[in-house]
């Protein structure tokens, strides 16, 4: 990320941090033009520009909101490695503008056409929130969050500052709706704004051990289906010919690196604002994981008070590995990711501990391991993620 991009991000973040600005200000302007609004609604029911509709029902996700029937141009997809969201069950959809394609020439950072929309639903027994991301005419992405009511008869746009404690992920553990600042912090700090819709995440060679994975809905898009439909262009032949998978020495490592990619690489990558930390958890579309070269054995800039922890990952010693301290803590300065989670991921703690212990047996020079075949998944994975 260059200084200009960092500055733009900062400007957007501080704008979003100022409650009532941005979309809401423009909405007032829209309200002064009722005739134009009516015309716009007739021509294209979901809102355009960055003026998000007040109700999810007006965003184009459903053809029949009451029955929760998806609109015909909306398609489900499911990334193989999920972001931990305190155990929420999640579903995701994309709508591409008619006759438009995704530019995939950079297989790690697909470029989506203007008008592309993504929705992501979060549920804890019942629907709690649905998020909308839409690419605007100026190339920027607009973020909006809708909060479902108890009987799921409506979902209403929430303030850009987010809402705290709208539900509980576990008894007594609050679940918050993120503000736009948090949305942008994760989505605009990585190689690509859209995090779960990529060559690796949609690979048909799915990791059977991936944590919190769900069985994709019928008709879900994957990389093969996107290619068959001609919805992506210029994907490098090497990626198209061989379904992407994490390059790993063991099945445990494959799953661990995939988890770190989904949960940590949004900020920890070579293009981020904090790229100078030298830490990257990206797994590239060709399967190359950065973590082996940047995290294993490498010193950390952060040293938790009262500990002797100095390195991100110490092969063979999870207790001495900062990564374990980070993912095990919540509600204090050690927590990672630092936002939007009040509950540590017990499955991830077990997985990463197992992998770090496993690393002790590996020669230090081995940084690009061969691919391996993953066995059947173990039982006990939580739903959702």
């Amino acid at each position: 990320m260059d200084v200009n991009r960092a500055t733009r991000l900062g400007e957007r973040l501080i704008l979003a941090a100022s409650a009532g600005k941005g979309c809401f200000r423009r909405r007032s302007l829209c309200a002064s033009l009722p005739a134009l609004l009516l015309l716009a609604a007739l021509v294209a029911p979901p809102a355009t520009a960055d003026c998000a509709p007040q109700h999810l029902a007006d965003t184009g996700l459903y053809a029949d909101f009451a029955a929760k029937t998806l609109a015909p141009e909306v398609h489900p997809f499911s990334p193989q490695y999920a972001l931990w969201s305190d155990g929420a069950t999640k579903r995701r959809w994309i709508r591409l503008p008619p006759k438009k394609r995704i530019d995939a020439r950079n297989p790690d950072a697909w470029v989506f056409p203007v008008g592309t929309r993504f929705w992501k639903e979060f549920a804890f027994g019942r629907r709690v929130e649905t998020r909308l991301i839409e690419r605007q005419a100026d190339g920027e992405w607009h973020f909006a969050t809708y909060r479902w009511n108890q009987d799921e008869s409506d979902a209403v746009l929430v303030p850009e500052t987010g809402v705290r404690h709208v539900a509980e992920s576990r008894p007594g553990v609050p679940y918050d709706l993120p503000g736009v600042v948090e949305c942008r912090a994760c989505h605009e700090s990585g190689l690509a704004t859209i995090l779960g819709f990529s060559a690796l995440q949609l690979s048909s060679d799915r990791d059977p051990n991936a944590l919190h994975g769900i069985t994709p809905d019928p008709g879900s898009l994957d990389l093969d289906e996107l290619l068959r439909r001609g919805w992506i262009s210029d994907l490098p032949q090497a990626i198209a010919a061989h379904a992407p998978r994490v390059r790993a020495a063991t099945p445990t490592e494959r799953t661990a690196l995939g988890y770190l990619h989904a949960n940590c690489s949004n900020c920890h990558n070579s293009q981020s604002l904090i790229a100078d930390l030298g830490l990257s958890f990206v797994v590239h579309a060709d399967g190359t994981p950065d973590a082996l070269a940047t995290a294993v054995g490498h010193p950390s800039h952060y040293h938790p008070t009262g500990t002797t922890i100095e390195r991100h990952i110490v092969p063979g010693d999870p207790d001495a590995s900062l990564v374990m301290t980070r993912i095990s803590n919540r509600g204090n300065a050690r927590q990672m990711p630092p936002m939007d989670s009040h509950l540590a991921d017990a499955d991830a703690i077990a997985l990463l501990s197992r992998w770090i212990r496993e690393l002790a047996a590996r020669p230090a020079s081995e940084s690009s391991p061969p691919n391996v075949t993953s066995p059947a998944p173990p039982s006990g994975n939580l739903p959702g993620g």
């Binding site: 990320m1 200084v3 960092a6 500055t7 991000l9 900062g10 400007e11 973040l13 501080i14 941090a17 600042v181 912090a185 700090s189 900020c267 981020s272 604002l273 904090i274 100078d276 930390l277 800039h301 040293h303 938790p304 008070t305 009262g306 374990m324 301290t325 095990s328 803590n329 919540r330 509600g331 204090n332 300065a333 050690r334 927590q335 630092p338 936002m339």
Partner: protein
């Protein structure tokens, strides 16, 4: 008494930012003169902005409490261990301030002021200008990390121009480095730490 000083310090920060003069643009000067001007501009803003009020440990003098400039901007002293927060006394009080004005106990837990010197291990030595600016803009460490806690008035500093924030950072990088490992903040209801 100490609390009154703390309130004054905060007010000084806010007032200083509100009335800060327009930025001097480094591009208006030749490189070396520009760098010097940038640092001087930063010195002015850091001084006027009241950064020493919280980030320099205070000591007691014959004139009352004052910043100990031998430890300028080095944050909460690591030697002054604080294990837990303390509730304010009954009455209209929100926070309790440590003896050095560098530790603040309130509803947010206990916050410790950061080491702003260029020490690479414990201060801003490993930071970049863009990280510093993003921190002031977002209220998050390096722009992406944990939330910055009260009483740091980042909301005010975040409204400064990029040029002014860059100048402040340039000045902070120019001052003497002091090795001082500021502890992590203490959450209000600390969960079991690993």
């Amino acid at each position: 008494m100490k609390r009154r000083y703390a309130v004054s310090a905060l007010a000084a920060c806010a007032v200083a930012i509100a009335f800060a003069a327009p930025a001097t643009h480094a591009a208006d000067h030749p490189a070396s003169a520009g760098d010097k001007a940038k640092v001087e501009r930063g010195r002015y803003l850091v001084t006027f902005g009241g950064c020493n009020d919280c980030h320099t440990p205070w000591k007691m003098s014959d004139k009352g409490p004052e910043p100990d400039m031998s430890r300028m901007l080095s944050g909460h002293p690591q030697s002054l261990a604080i294990q837990a927060g303390v509730a304010p006394p009954p009455g209209p009080w929100m926070a309790v301030v440590g003896v050095t004005f560098t530790a603040w106990s309130g509803p947010w837990g206990v916050s410790f002021t950061k080491n702003l010197t260029p020490d690479k291990e414990t201060g801003l030595g490993g930071w970049t200008e863009k990280e510093f600016i993003a921190t002031m803009r977002t209220g998050r460490e390096r722009g992406l990390g944990r939330e910055i806690l009260p009483p740091m008035p980042w909301q005010n500093y975040g409204k400064a121009t990029d040029a002014d924030l860059a100048a402040m950072f340039a000045y902070l990088k120019s001052i003497p480095a002091i090795s001082n490992h500021v502890p992590d903040p203490i959450p209000p209801e600390a969960p079991p730490a690993k």
